[in-house]
Symmetry: C2
Subunit: 339 residues, 2 copies
């Protein structure tokens, strides 16, 4: 099943989207918002599934043509947003850029940061930034949404609590990261509002591509309409989503609607190197920090700037037949103007 | 005005509490929840204030005797919980315990971590912990709740967005902190669910004690019914709440209902030392980590253990006439039992 949220009010209105993303139908009579649906998932998901089948069959009352630009992120705000770093190739590269070694424990103990979740951006909303000097970067990722998760859950049990999958643009201000990490308490100002794909899907929608709690499809990223990357999201994800959920829940409950992210999707090169740009025949990247680090390694200097006001990033995922699964994150960076 | 939340359902029900905490009256016809009230504060706060005046005057219809044990935290869950470390005496002591220097920039650039906010504990709810080996500690703090805050707000403007003040028990698992901080992304598993005082109050309720965005009263902490500390919350708070809110909003909007904390209240000794225990005539502490560090300094060894299952902590604040302002956080630590 595919769900989305009309951009109306703080929490939006829940709609069901057809498998091909062409049409939609309201679900507010079943659950007013996606958050409400997640809080009563066992009760409401069968009703949502039934209407989803009607919509795909062409006989859902009140169905309308879907305009993705009318959508907010599936959860316009959430009570929990925790982002892992499951693609260690990304972690190694970014740390290399800071001249920091990656400890061996990173292969067994997931890295995760607590993100801000009170004001997510809509998938086509401008990314407002105070200054280009902050080093504005995108990060293409995958995230799952859970229902209520008990404390100290095992990965096996955690898997059952994963209800939806979506994409993320985890906007990062690279210029602020070294200073914040040096303070020791992790990211804060360096991680402004994230946005999510217009559509969230149940794992069964991914068919064979959902294996062992990972999405085995490439993530496609365009920067200013040029292909920037399509790294495979499956093979190099060191920790599965069930493992990430279990990590997040080790000492706490997770409330229904918790969003748990994968970290930036990243592949090393088949030859073991850090991964080549698309122009050089590689799969490219899903953030600018990686290409900059690779340029530093290959050419001795960084050539690609961070995002400037007016730059656009597009993040989406297609199945092996070329169907857009989650809709498109398509955002422009603009200068923040006090209102 | 004093507001609280009945512990019913995920977001509770909004009530108004009399100044002396003896009586209460429902406010659900004005705003169903505190979160809803904060989202429309300008519209609803005059109505809430009017009923608060009626309640204090003894003529509010439907008023009832207040039972603090029926209350959840004012926001049972929130979209944003960011905790500063404005009492640098605490930061210095805790870092000393880890053999880490405190950088000079900490005097000008606030330390802040992003907390989990999806499942706060009620003020009298048990603190479930997986293991005593995690080093279970309490942290007595003050927090404010804001309405919608614009990005890049100045401290002067931020002050206007502070709508409510309350107390916090920022539960910490000290044994997990060194490992998490070494990973570089800040706290996660080391900061399980926090609880808040049963009652949140508008700053005007604090009278002269609310000066320059700080609360100039002692915070009283009892451990197993023995006084453990009553440090003054005003003088040693290096960053005011408006400064902390502005710090949190530097690169992002804060959504209505954002909770911003002060960090552990802590005083150095008048002689410049790290602060004496209550038993030695000092003001004591509002967390165990501090007394342990002081013992290490004074006696060459730590004597006070972290919390054990069955231990209780009580956190409250009295005005200079001995009136309890926010109600009482009173929690017992228990072993987590999978349900």
């Amino acid at each position: 099943m595919k769900l989305a949220t009309l951009n109306k009010g703080r929490d939006g209105e829940l709609i069901i989207v057809s498998r091909d993303l062409s049409r939609a139908v309201s679900a507010v009579d079943i659950a007013p918002t996606l958050q409400a649906a997640l809080e009563s998932w066992e009760a409401v998901s069968p009703q949502l599934e039934e209407r989803y089948a009607q919509l795909n069959g062409g006989d859902a009352d009140g169905a309308f043509e879907l305009d993705q630009r009318a959508l907010h992120s599936p959860l316009p705000r959430a009570y929990q947003w925790a982002d892992g770093s499951a693609y260690l190739n990304h972690v190694q590269l970014v740390r290399q850029a800071r001249n920091a070694e990656m400890p061996e424990t990173f292969w067994t103990d997931p890295l995760m940061y607590q993100g801000g979740s009170d004001c997510f951006l809509a998938p086509t909303e401008d990314i407002e930034a105070v200054s280009e000097e902050h080093g504005i970067d995108f990060e293409g990722e995958i995230a799952v949404i859970t229902d209520d998760v008990p404390m100290a859950v095992t990965p096996e049990e955690a898997a059952k609590h994963i209800k939806l999958v979506m994409l993320v643009n985890d906007v990062s201000l690279r210029g602020l990261i070294p200073g914040e990490l040096a303070k020791g308490f992790g990211f804060f100002q360096a991680k402004p509002a994230s946005s999510f794909s217009p559509i969230a899907v149940t794992p069964d929608e991914l068919g064979d591509a959902w294996q062992e709690g990972k999405v085995h499809l490439p993530l496609t990223v365009h920067l200013n309409d040029e292909k920037f990357g399509e790294p495979e999201a499956g093979p190099d994800m060191i920790f599965s989503f069930p493992q990430l959920v279990a990590h997040a829940a080790k000492t706490r409950y997770l409330g229904a609607g918790a969003v748990i992210g994968s970290g930036t999707v990243s592949n090393p090169d088949p030859d073991g190197g850090p991964g080549k740009p698309v122009a050089d025949g590689g799969v490219g990247y899903s953030c600018l920090a990686e290409v900059r680090m690779v340029e530093q390694i290959l050419y001795g200097q960084v050539k690609t700037p961070f995002m400037r006001f007016g730059d656009r990033v597009r993040i989406e995922m297609f199945d092996r037949d070329g169907n857009n699964l989650f809709g498109t994150i398509d955002q422009q960076v603009v200068k923040y103007q006090p209102k």
